[in-house]
Subunit: 408 residues, 2 copies
Amino acid sequence: MALIVQKFGGSSVRDYERIFHVANIIADTYRKGNDVVVVLSAQGDTTDELIKKAEEINPRPSRREMDMLLSTGEQISIALCAMAVEKLGLPVISLTGWQVNLKTNSDYGSAKIQKLAGERIRAELHRKNIVIVAGFQGINKFGDITTLGRGGSDTTAVALAAALRADLCQIYTDVEGVFTADPRTVPNARKLDEITFDEMLELASLGAQVLQNRSVELAKRYGVQMEVLSSMEPKRGTIVKEVTTGMEKTLISGVAKDDNVASVSLIGLEDVPGVAYKIFSVLAKNRINVDIILQSIGRESTKDITFTVAKKNLERATEILRGKQSVLMFNDMTTNENLSKVSIVGAGMINNPGIASQMFEALYSVGINIHMISTSEMKISVLIDKSEGDIALKAVHDKFFGTRSENL
Amino acid sequence: MALIVQKFGGSSVRDYERIFHVANIIADTYRKGNDVVVVLSAQGDTTDELIKKAEEINPRPSRREMDMLLSTGEQISIALCAMAVEKLGLPVISLTGWQVNLKTNSDYGSAKIQKLAGERIRAELHRKNIVIVAGFQGINKFGDITTLGRGGSDTTAVALAAALRADLCQIYTDVEGVFTADPRTVPNARKLDEITFDEMLELASLGAQVLQNRSVELAKRYGVQMEVLSSMEPKRGTIVKEVTTGMEKTLISGVAKDDNVASVSLIGLEDVPGVAYKIFSVLAKNRINVDIILQSIGRESTKDITFTVAKKNLERATEILRGKQSVLMFNDMTTNENLSKVSIVGAGMINNPGIASQMFEALYSVGINIHMISTSEMKISVLIDKSEGDIALKAVHDKFFGTRSENL
């Protein structure tokens, strides 16, 4: 008997059939003698519809009222799902964010969890109830409803698992687990049995949209064992934990591609100390995250700096920098949106210096030109032309996970 | 400067245009220097749609989960309306039932208000905020969401007005006020400037669906002055209060017709003590409300008892009585659903014995046969064939409110 937290996303509860499908998974887990805590997102497109309704009325509503509005989406999900579990004849209770007393700061729309004691949930579990909790939402010190922003329901699930010292936090998705690459692009991608938190964090930030980083970071901090698995395929998923133990542990956990990347090059910067500091502090002040940074020597004792940002931030980044051109003193600025970032991730990489060259070899073998390279302890990323992204992903994946396993 | 509570129903906030219409009424009241507390129902058909969703999943969901589900309807309304008021540039905050700490018992689906202190609302008013409160909902001692059932939002508004000692509780509806009869049936019906709580209670229970009795009872108990007025026509409505002061006070306040009535006749009951007690206690035990009761002497030292119930209770009432036929010892039972109840209401009636005969005269003048008569201190009701209901209503109304005002 264990305490299991199960999280289901919006598409898993989008209609009558899906809700009963989820209710049956919950019921199976409960009937095996487990304590079950469930976290749900809003149904299907509910959140988008509510946002549309709000924007019709006021394109710039206060974020407090937006959270008041959006939090109804999860409340509807949990009530309907509880009714489905009731229909299956099992004891169940649904609880909102404020009812489980999930305390957050007052950053409406992207609130951070501050505290979660879990008394109410524990009391309900003690009464042998299945507990269904609204994800994505909390309550601040004023007694007002907050929402956690993107990936909020995953984060709620992990926070509950941590507070309740759950044995496992299952994140149900529409994929069967974490794969060595995106199976939609790389047909022979392989499901991993296990992956470490750190590898998962690198993979997620590299565009493998399985888990939100925020939830994995929280799981790592509190030692919550996670499992990513499919709500449609009843089989074991991928376990995410601190240290993996698999016999077949490979050096590389996965290959990821991210098209949501744009580069900015500042040409002809003065070659004096403090230039990089000035550039990146002005971007940081404006909350623009920078990923890869590359500095090279330019002509006539100047230097060039190229960096990448998320595509949506490109316009704002260039505006800000152009506004500071006289201070930063660059001659020219160029941008490139036609980029893909292809990365390999693996905790074993650090002790195996040959990995990078194998990756470059794979790209060379299919004639792909590399624009930028970035390496860290556990990943290697290259920026290439977007049109070559899929070919690159397959080539790199096949190099490490293909049938020619002698490469490993 | 006054403290005004304004309540708007579901049709008043059903879409974008209506919400802004309501927001403008609120803004006008606020700009005149008043403190404004607003109570809203769920938008249009939201509640019905949520009920449909629930029934699809579970035809008999627990009432707790049903309340969890339904309470989202008002929460959406208040958030959207607050955004509209923000758009008009005024300070506003929306609050749910639990946020204003509207304490109820745990009778989910038809909870009774137990306590409402109003600290949070007072604090927001002190900050010069317009406060928009979700009607229909509260919180019980377990911290669970309850709903107040039919007419819940009116009741919320009156409860808030009582707790905050508001100067006026305005109930905005789709009619301009309380009329001497339903204007849809009686074209020359007249709007009343004032009406007493007691008259309003009688009128409401007689089928004039302007205000829910529950809210009027609460207003009477706490001395909350109400105004029934139209959200579409910007003019004075009808004031509902303890004692009316109008110069033109008439003996009769209004005429009402109720088609939601069915009669049951038990024929050939034994003429011994306790028969009526047995019949009506078994109905009361089964929570079936009985309205008019008429007892007459039958043949061969038996008696007949006829009574009326709401139409929806007819089947259950007859089932229950048939099940007890051997105990109650009646020979036969007949029912009639083709009935209308036409009533006149007026606090002045008690001192004017001629009123009843004027009503009967009006019905006689159009050739209508009366099946049953019931009188009380403040009303006279007759049961007639349903097909003659509208003619009867007009005839009685014209008698008391028609151009021939010499009848008054």
